[in-house]
Symmetry: C2
Subunit: 649 residues, 2 copies
Amino acid sequence: MAHRRTLRVDYDSSTNVVCVVGSELNVNLDRGAPPGSKFFSVKCTANVKFELSPPPVESSHGALVPLSGKSVILISMSHASQSEKDDKVIWTAMKIQKAFNPTQVFQISLDVDADRDGTVEINNPHKESWTWGPNGHGAILLVNCDAEKIHDKSPDNEDPRIVKVSDLKDMSLMVLRTRGPAELPEGYKLTMHISQGDAESVRVFRAASREAVKNSLHKLFSSFVKDYPLVLSSEVLSQEVPYLGGSAEMNFYVEGLRFPDKDFDGLITINLSLLQPVKEGIPETPIFTDKVVFRVSPWIMTPNTLQPVEVFVCSTSDNYQFLKGMKALVSRCGYKLKVCFEYMNRGDRWMQDELEFGYIDSPHHSFPVVLDSPRDGHLDDFPYDELLGPDFGYVTRVAHRKDVSSLDSFGNLEVSPPVTVNGKKYPLGRILIGVAFPTATKGRNMTKVVQDFLWAQKVQEPVALFSDWLCVGHIDEFMTFVPAPDRKGFRLLLASPDAAYKLFRGLHKDGHGQAKMFDGIHQIILHGCIDWNRDVLKRELGLDDDDIIDLPILFKLDEEDGSRAVAYYPDMVNMIVLGKDLGIPKPFGPKVDGRCALETEMCSLMEGLGLRCTFIDDFSSYHKLLGEVHCGSNVLRKPFDFKWWNLEL
Amino acid sequence: MAHRRTLRVDYDSSTNVVCVVGSELNVNLDRGAPPGSKFFSVKCTANVKFELSPPPVESSHGALVPLSGKSVILISMSHASQSEKDDKVIWTAMKIQKAFNPTQVFQISLDVDADRDGTVEINNPHKESWTWGPNGHGAILLVNCDAEKIHDKSPDNEDPRIVKVSDLKDMSLMVLRTRGPAELPEGYKLTMHISQGDAESVRVFRAASREAVKNSLHKLFSSFVKDYPLVLSSEVLSQEVPYLGGSAEMNFYVEGLRFPDKDFDGLITINLSLLQPVKEGIPETPIFTDKVVFRVSPWIMTPNTLQPVEVFVCSTSDNYQFLKGMKALVSRCGYKLKVCFEYMNRGDRWMQDELEFGYIDSPHHSFPVVLDSPRDGHLDDFPYDELLGPDFGYVTRVAHRKDVSSLDSFGNLEVSPPVTVNGKKYPLGRILIGVAFPTATKGRNMTKVVQDFLWAQKVQEPVALFSDWLCVGHIDEFMTFVPAPDRKGFRLLLASPDAAYKLFRGLHKDGHGQAKMFDGIHQIILHGCIDWNRDVLKRELGLDDDDIIDLPILFKLDEEDGSRAVAYYPDMVNMIVLGKDLGIPKPFGPKVDGRCALETEMCSLMEGLGLRCTFIDDFSSYHKLLGEVHCGSNVLRKPFDFKWWNLEL
């Protein structure tokens, strides 16, 4: 709908009016006509389109039309003025000819990449709104949470300046295109503005250089740009921007400051208005406003089925055996291995628990972002000090110390591969977290600020599992996902005391070892906890029993905490998944024909999926400390090919 | 989708299992069968339905079916057990007959008025979700913000007890219907639970009486009920509830605690689970969960087109003339008049500015709710002390003193009659507030906490107008709505210096008075401000020029604050609308033939709509203090017939 503006003209004088292409002037003739006028006529030059309201009975170019209190001329302009004398509307009443002069016609368009193809188009008709899906529209913003500065670094969104030109690529280009006379009429202004609410989430910078920088990020970076003044921020909600005259483009850079959260839906509107002067001391009137909407990219997690880029482990004084196994595995697979040495980890070996890798994505740029856990062990500084950097973002949520429990470690935060549940697609999978039973009157939970953050990202709708039955309380103690060539493209692996029971019973029957090596009643109890999760996973991920593989794993109640469980022997489900290679805690099970029966079983279960098992000895340095291979490692993975904005939410 | 539960059965013993109608047991036979079994067969009693997975090739009641690791019996029950021996599943393998006994079958349903007809139906299939519209579903909750107690009163939602049985009608009835054996099996429990997030917004009470109170609110209130224990609150997220045995209903009362706001979408889920005991120290496993969703009623404003119930004014030492006029008008119209006397108002006469009347609504109950402005003049205590009471709710938003300006007075908060805008219906109208221009680098605004509250109600999507051009800064200084028999059912009345200019010019021409009584250039400037609002109102309310009537009203720049405007003479648009009667500030315009020309014009404009004008002298006691009739009064109106949950959002 065209922007309409009411204009009152005085019958004492001709009127010069500033117009904007795309808006419509609603000129009330009631006051403009000399007293006693009964009829009027209208003529105009070619650039001017007009309609009369009420519509005259017949075509009336130049013809006399009855004048009433309601007579209105609706005027619109097809393009900007070339010179100041181009355009004219002349209307006559009582033989007095009145010139109504839209002498200054401007074309103004605030442009963004609303069609999400990586380039800023001209005046996209949908730029004012945001919709999901492959046929959706609306521009996209990244939280500028990486750090361009290497020394004295901090996330760029904490710095209200652009200190390096490379920082521009983390922002969304916004172009102000204007066309019209060389200058705005005296006292008129162009002003960019945002609401108070949006100002907490966005900053806008301007390219100070008058040279029109063409719509290509590449060119921008090849020349050093000295100065990008801050236009809008939480301190400045409205600021004048220069009008360049003629046909011009001015580049702006829009910087996202924070992720969607409970109190922020991720949408941001930026407005540009043309202001008309009124009188000293009275604020100028906006006579035309163009606006664009951005959505901030959510933080997206990467499941085991995505290709690894780099593997992270800690080196400690006692984990040589583990490290040797991991190095061999990772180097054989051809991925990078990053070892966090003891001066940094200070003995904290739980690389999985301190951080979760994810990424943010837009049509113009994408980079990994680490979510730092509120856990705060001795690895605490690693994500900020070692990971944050150019094109590597950082985000955290701060919780009260008293609200943080073992369930806030990110071994308790995983994500499924893509699934479809009762026809509803989750092409980015679903986040999985572990909590207490919703019915529990007491129990440990993942802290609310992290849960709120995860839910607010929207694109990987979380599922809450029950992990409080475990002493450590992490979902990676009883489940993982591995890639598969068939069915849904993956299998869910679940720890199964039943499968272990069956295996050992078979061994016993064949004369190998004792079947009664474990307390059967506890296994049934603990199996109930896993089965509860199994039912939730089947329901919330749309899985069949055939999508699930039961691994022979036993639990026991912890000796200190008599009511929560720990793994009986190295917990094979707590593995690292690197493409078709699995790094599995070496279970040290009973040997049959010289080979560990648990390893044999594991290999036989995984072979059918084309997966290779490598058993890694983590017994003394991880298992005895209640963790395993997965707890002690982390994997940075490639992003999804699927673009989050193509989700149909 | 049926709730599925995985169950492992042991081959050493028969298994007694607790089942819930509507859920499905997934019994894995792998472990249950004696070692070496190759086939099995299944039989069952009439109440038990079963399916086999994988499905056998032919019908297999009693026939042998091949046994594999994946063999599963899916069992569901059609109704609750009458006795403990009723139901049985017998399966046989290797000639060993195994009884799998769903001996205890329960029917459990947590019920609400999900179809919004005022009564709680049985197990509505849509009770777990909430959708808008006439075909929508989901139960509704009121914020219990009235005060049943008359002495030492406070809003009921601030008191975690039910002190009067009449308070129950402000809550939503929720019924737990159970059917089954006389008792739950040992260690089993029924538990009601809510999430931590929802607990801030809801409390649940239970009728302690064992007598099943039938599904009628009326009966409840006719008998005094002694004790309603608190079941759930922010302190207690999960609590056991009694199982009554046989066929029983237990009543719960759900109390809304807070209105939708920026951080609360208004939705609340209440869960009921059947818990299975596990082992001392280990939390019980939920084996069945039923849930219901409520949405809290938004706070809804009432436009001028709704029928008045009661008119509120202040009595001060100097407003006798005004009060006399108002009393005469209101008594002639037949509405109630409530006078706030000086001991309460302490000289603050601006009844419009201190509060806004609205209401909340549900299928079972509705009552008015006053929104107390953060303005805090001397009338500050009036809404709480005089209005809050039984079936009269109270809500406020607290702002920092420094953030509160004249724009926070509720003369600056109005609501339009129902409108349709480009096909989008607003059957409850749209809220209108006044702020600074969005482009202004400085200026006054309505405080953010109130704006956030208004936007969060959703059902009357607000429109921001520009009122900061006025010295007092209230939108009721330049606009109001009156009912009309034609078109959209109303007219927007706008102050129009042009209309005044034209009127006075006509008078001058006819020899009455001076036309140049005002400064023309200022009128044009100020008209620009009104026209900007006119354009916004036309666009956002879908109005044509014919829906708008221009009233002859002049403004001038205030003598002290040289850049903001005040009314030149009593501002006729600042009127009270009581059905077809308008109480209009007496303008004291030039007399023509013994009658005020402004009154004549006003009457002639309103007569066509069937409206009666009564001019009220507010000159010395209101106009000179920069307010008028509307500023000095308030009207409690009947709610809309249209139900907010029927909106299609």
